[in-house]
Symmetry: C2
Subunit: 350 residues, 2 copies
Amino acid sequence: MITPATGPAHEEARKGPAPADRMPTIKDVAELAGVATSTVSRALSKPDRVNQHTRQRIQEAAAQLNYVPSSQAKGLSSGRTGTVAVLVPDITNPFYFDIIRGTQHQLKAAGLTQLLVDTEESSEMELDALHKMRRSADGFVLAASRLTDAQLAEVAGSQPLVTINRASADAPSVVIDTPSAIIQALDHLASLGHNRVCYVGGPPTSWSNEMRWKVFEEDSRRRGMETHRIGPFIPKTTSGAAAADAALRTGATACVVFNDLLAIGMLQRLQARGIRVPEDMSIVGSDDIFGADFCNPPLTTISSPIEQAGRVAVAMLLSQLNPVPGGASRKLAVMPTHLTIRQSTGPAPD
Amino acid sequence: MITPATGPAHEEARKGPAPADRMPTIKDVAELAGVATSTVSRALSKPDRVNQHTRQRIQEAAAQLNYVPSSQAKGLSSGRTGTVAVLVPDITNPFYFDIIRGTQHQLKAAGLTQLLVDTEESSEMELDALHKMRRSADGFVLAASRLTDAQLAEVAGSQPLVTINRASADAPSVVIDTPSAIIQALDHLASLGHNRVCYVGGPPTSWSNEMRWKVFEEDSRRRGMETHRIGPFIPKTTSGAAAADAALRTGATACVVFNDLLAIGMLQRLQARGIRVPEDMSIVGSDDIFGADFCNPPLTTISSPIEQAGRVAVAMLLSQLNPVPGGASRKLAVMPTHLTIRQSTGPAPD
DNA sequence: CAACTTATGGCAATCGCTTGCCGCAACATT
DNA sequence: AATGTTGCGGCAAGCGATTGCCATAAGTTG
């Protein structure tokens, strides 16, 4: 009874009503229901286009065969893949986990699936992925893109995409307004009596790193503080030791750190060196990632609605993919942030 | 010069040599190179099948058009999607991050892309995803599957899959050998003088939770300890408070906790209640996730090669997808674990 | 009752690529 | 010179859906 399979049929698992080894196609459903494939297709996607009675027969047939349409074939004609690629520089980094969580959530709600890509902090890999996946994803979410402005502009011109934490005139972006919270942080530090402050820098290719530094420099100077900058550092806890040592050498009494990962690494190093936080040195992180609340001491940091940023990014992408005739879609979303004060900041020493 | 696009052509971004708005197809390449599409196809996938000279001409044409084959169309004929779905119960949980990192790594190496799915701890969603994505993924990696044995057996019979932390006779599995480290942990606790111990349970549907408890019970009894079990708890830090309170009520002096997330949550609660760890209560976590080393106090825990487990799972899946004629592929991989002693365990009180 | 609509389902082209089969030319072999 | 080999490309048939167009039947309208 089994159709002579073309490929090497694997023999196991032919229990139950499974008709053949092969996946059921729309044709099988059509035959079982006694209609043409076109009717099956319509019954399944445009129910109104088909007679109530026929439709039901088809649905039963489909259910009986356990039929699932091939997304590939569907995509072939429609040109859509039902997929969105999310590119992050480093899956290792909890910051991106939250983004991923956000995009995943929103994509699922839209019936799309998420293709996750780690670009390993490399603009080449990013560009390459963007290129290779052009055909396999309907759109892209670029988290903390490492692309140059020119590259980004070019890519944005040829495929739907939205960036996170990387503003650009050429692509819709959602940016997290960390700068304004940096001002809050400096305020906080100033009120604690700090006047020698240090910015601990992240990856040189990071757009948000530059933004943060710019605001930090400007605002701390305005306040008449002694401003230092160290870095760049790879934003991982393991770089924290070098960062902490360098920070100590500057003589600053408080650091604003590119991100929490690095800040937590510094905390560990400072503790190891017997430097007390916040008594001897205050530390402000950024992002409020998983772990910032239970490290030792709990980290004062800039809380960002990261997951929400991921969700908004997807929403913007969707409105780009299915434009509504009326309104132009939003080109920029700014996510608010705030300073969360925990225990890694305190009065300046002396 | 522009072909009258069928859809509403978007006008921007027609800079550069982009010929039309449409993506170049194999046909475009064929025309430009002056050959048939079949030749292009072969030149690109089976280079030997085509003359060196022709091949080069084709490659140039492809490069010039910036051609990328449609994975959809490719898949249509080959039946492959070039994609593997990874199902995790909760993307929120750092444990799975490490798995994802591992699978991602190995998949990329194999030229496959990863479809990430969050099943939200629900066996229905898991089953549903497995069903709906049957056609869009070549195989599945089920991390900590919530499926029943019967469900798992059925699914495993009809599609290539490998499980992580869920042994089954019906599917290749990689399991993390936490149980043997639980014995180590009890050894450690016993040597510190603890004789009232408590297992803090995770999700009732978790296979590994059951395994851990079984070993815990058996071994602690064998040692003549007073054995308690509390739970189930949702394995998040937020459940830690309830878990900590319940643990305290048992009178145990040491807890072995289902996972680090829960353990860290307990740490926080115990600290809030003024219970000192490890002086008043020792805590042993499980998995050694991100954060276990910098929480307060740093957590004694069962270190697991999580990322590696993800990698091995993919390797096993691949050998299932591309079976070598000779050897039968491995059905079970056991990943070794060990106890990492930090500062959340200490001598029993009294 | 003729002329129109409308509802419904089938036919066949199409999407982009792969692949079995065939043809042809250039060599190699008796 | 006749007959095999090879190497190389083209033809055309799929793969599994979608969809424009058409045919048929049934219901409406004047």
